[in-house]
């Protein structure tokens, strides 16, 4: 892979504005996302993180499923694949195994990754193939107008949970760690610079990395659940509802109660799948 050494610190701190256009496809904007949606912030964090890795555009594939977040690849100037609902991971698995030199980033949502794609998600984590999985988690199916998802908190309203959801939720990070992912982190659209750094670390990690990215859907989740504005949602859910893992250690348990931790929550070393497959081939060939 043709890589440059990362020439700058992460997050982006140079004085000149970051040139997003060099990573965007010309003429593909405006995007489909509603005003107040956090996906654009995540997209920009992703591009700054990619820039910092120094990996060339030709050497990156971005694969998505179906949903609002899954429209991301269409705007970006890489090798891009917009697949089926829930199926980004197996498609990405095929690409990566066919072309191991590619850095494969998967963009998916809470419904896409954890409901219809749940089986693919746990097995991708188990295999530890070098995939970066970004779960844009906005607690709802946005593209189909606001149905409850596996991360809709209990008692919250969705079009298919009119009296409040009675289902327990998945914690993406706990699930990913239990399934074997070797890098598990959480970020939010609100903490965009921190998110950039977390995405950078995830991309640079060799193995399956999972990012639970808290994000807002003011159009549906916000409106149904009486948030006054997109910014209020971000503040209540992403800012006040989370704690950086480094801060959390210093706080008494009562101040951590009910808050989700941000940052790298789990990291371990295990053989990466494609490298293991290389070794398997050598064995089969009697080398």
């Amino acid at each position: 892979m043709s890589t440059q050494t990362a020439a700058r610190t992460v997050p982006y701190k140079e004085k000149a504005p970051f040139d997003y256009s060099s990573y965007m496809r010309k003429g593909k904007l405006p995007h489909i996302w509603c005003s107040g949606c956090g996906h654009g912030i995540v997209l920009k964090s992703l591009l700054r993180a990619i820039d910092a890795t120094g990996i060339q555009k030709d050497d990156i594939a971005i694969v998505s499923g179906i949903g609002c977040s899954s429209r991301t690849p269409g705007y970006l100037d890489f090798n891009t694949l917009h697949t089926l609902h829930g199926r980004a991971l197996p498609c990405a698995t095929g690409i990566k195994l066919a072309k191991p030199k590619l850095k494969v980033i998967v963009v998916t949502g809470d419904g896409d990754a954890l409901a219809i794609g749940g089986n693919h998600f746990i097995h991708a984590c188990r295999r530890n193939m070098d995939l970066t999985i970004m779960v844009y988690n906005n607690y709802i199916y946005g593209m189909t107008s606001g149905q409850s998802s596996p991360t809709t908190p209990q008692s919250m309203i969705a079009t298919t949970a009119r009296y409040g959801s009675i289902e327990p939720t998945f914690d993406t990070c706990t699930l990913a760690k239990a399934a074997g992912a070797t890098f598990v982190a959480r970020g939010t659209a609100y903490h965009a610079q921190e998110l950039e750094k977390t995405i950078y670390d995830a991309i640079m990690h060799k193995g399956t990395s999972v990012l639970d990215i808290l994000d807002s859907c003011p159009t549906y989740y916000g409106r149904f659940n009486k948030f006054k504005s997109a910014s209020e949602m971000m503040e209540k859910i992403e800012k006040d509802g989370t704690l950086s893992i480094s801060q959390a250690d210093k706080l008494p348990p009562e101040k951590r109660e009910g808050k989700l931790l941000r940052g790298v929550l789990h990291k371990s070393e295990r053989p990466e799948y494609c490298e293991e497959y290389e070794r398997l081939m050598e064995k089969a060939q009697g080398k």
Binding site: T80, A98, L102, Y277, A284
Partner: protein
């Protein structure tokens, strides 16, 4: 020194692997299911030896998706399945049709619906192979009827997939899959192998669906400098989503027409004793074996009967059926289902002759005696197999 051909005594599923590897298949993703599992097992042993990739996925859906991904990564890719697994793959088969990603899917048919009788043969997925995925889409489906032919048809499946940038399905049944026959392996270069048409324009000008001269555009691989977009949404020539109604109509028609308008090259039939036939048999897959035996037997007794055997069942050989219908009084269609292809034969024969089905779904193959009785207009006795027929040599040749 001239290399001599290698002969092997192998089962159908192994012959399928031989054909795939000969055709250049270098990626296999699958999930265990009877009666197709041997394909995956042999691939798991063979592919790593030749630098190919093998992966057992978490389910049938994932296997089909991985095949699409690997094909976009530039490898000739395939998967194999049976019965319920074929149903599960339909979503991603449609995706491959829409995105025009070449790949090969094997369905070793077993008795259904549902779990049915997993070790029993059947021909009941013929319509699913054509219409299984939603939306109007192209279907190329091959129906070999012997182990040797399965090897050849697998090579042809890859060639068609690459030529037309479309999924190709190889449809056979448990009998062909598990039957062992002596097979001659083709020498390198003996059979033409089609390589994918790649773009030769500069990357900035590349449009993955720009079909300038014909119905199929060149396909770049990911990671080779052509940064293109692929989506299952209706898309313009550049690959990006469109809501332009004219383009949607044109694209859907092109997807179907790229196969329909090349029927002459894609269709392949065997005609046997049809010239002076008064009764015709239309049979595919394992039934064609029984049918050919029946035709030979009755010909030796002076009955004017002939066989039309499609090696490509989809697109359907309308012209060949119509030609036969002009000559014969009756067409008998034996199939191991409750009547699927018989309706196509009726349609294609345009009322020029009588069409009669002979159906069997008890998971035993249709016996030549049953077909003979049908030809002679006698009651079709079901399952008692006379021992003298069982030992006939003709039962195991092509």
């Amino acid at each position: 020194m001239k290399k001599s051909k290698q002969k092997k005594f192998i089962q159908g599923n192994e012959a399928c692997v031989e054909g795939a590897l000969y055709a250049g298949c270098r990626f296999y993703a699958g999930y265990p299911i009877t009666p197709s599992t041997e394909i995956m097992e042999v691939m798991a042993a063979r592919l790593p030896k030749i630098g190919g990739s093998f992966i057992q996925m978490e389910d049938e859906i994932a296997s089909m998706c991985a095949v699409v991904g690997a094909s976009l990564g530039g490898l000739k890719s395939m998967t194999a399945t049976s019965g319920p697994g074929f149903s599960l793959k339909q979503e991603a088969i449609g995706y491959a049709c829409m995105t025009e990603v070449p790949c090969v899917i094997v369905n070793v048919m077993r008795s259904g619906p549902s779990t049915g009788y997993p070790t029993g043969p059947s021909q009941s997925d013929v319509m699913q192979a054509k219409w299984g995925t939603h939306g109007d889409h192209p279907a190329v489906v091959l129906t070999p009827s012997s182990v040797q032919e399965l090897l050849y048809e697998t090579i042809r499946a890859f060639n068609l997939a690459e030529t037309y940038r479309t999924p190709v399905i190889i449809l056979y049944d448990e009998v062909i899959g598990h039957m062992r026959e002596a097979v001659t392996l083709p020498l390198p270069g003996e059979i033409n192998v089609v390589e994918r048409k790649k773009p030769n324009c500069p990357p900035s000008e590349y449009k993955p669906y720009d079909v300038q001269d014909g119905n199929v555009a060149p396909l770049a691989a990911y990671g080779e400098g052509y940064r293109f977009h692929v989506t299952g949404l209706y898309h313009a020539a550049d690959g990006f989503p469109t809501s332009n109604t004219k383009l949607i109509q044109e694209t859907n028609e092109r997807l179907v027409n790229k196969i329909d308008r090349n029927k002459e090259t894609i269709c392949k039939n065997e005609e046997f004793c049809l010239d002076d036939a008064e009764i015709g048999v239309f049979a595919y897959g394992v039934c064609a074996k029984s049918a050919k035996f029946a035709v030979k037997e009755l010909r030796s007794k002076g009955v004017k009967v002939g066989l039309l055997r499609p090696l490509t069942i989809w697109p359907f050989p309308d012209d060949a059926v119509e030609e036969m219908a002009k000559k014969v009084k009756t067409i008998i269609v034996p199939e191991m289902n409750l009547g699927q292809v018989v309706h196509e034969v009726e349609r294609a024969s345009k009322g020029k002759c009588d069409v009669r089905g002979l159906f069997r779904v008890d998971t035993d193959p249709i016996h030549p005696k049953q077909i003979m009785n049908a030809i002679l207009g006698r009651p079709v006795e079901p399952t008692v197999i006379p021992s003298e027929v069982l030992i006939e040599r003709d039962m195991i040749d092509g």
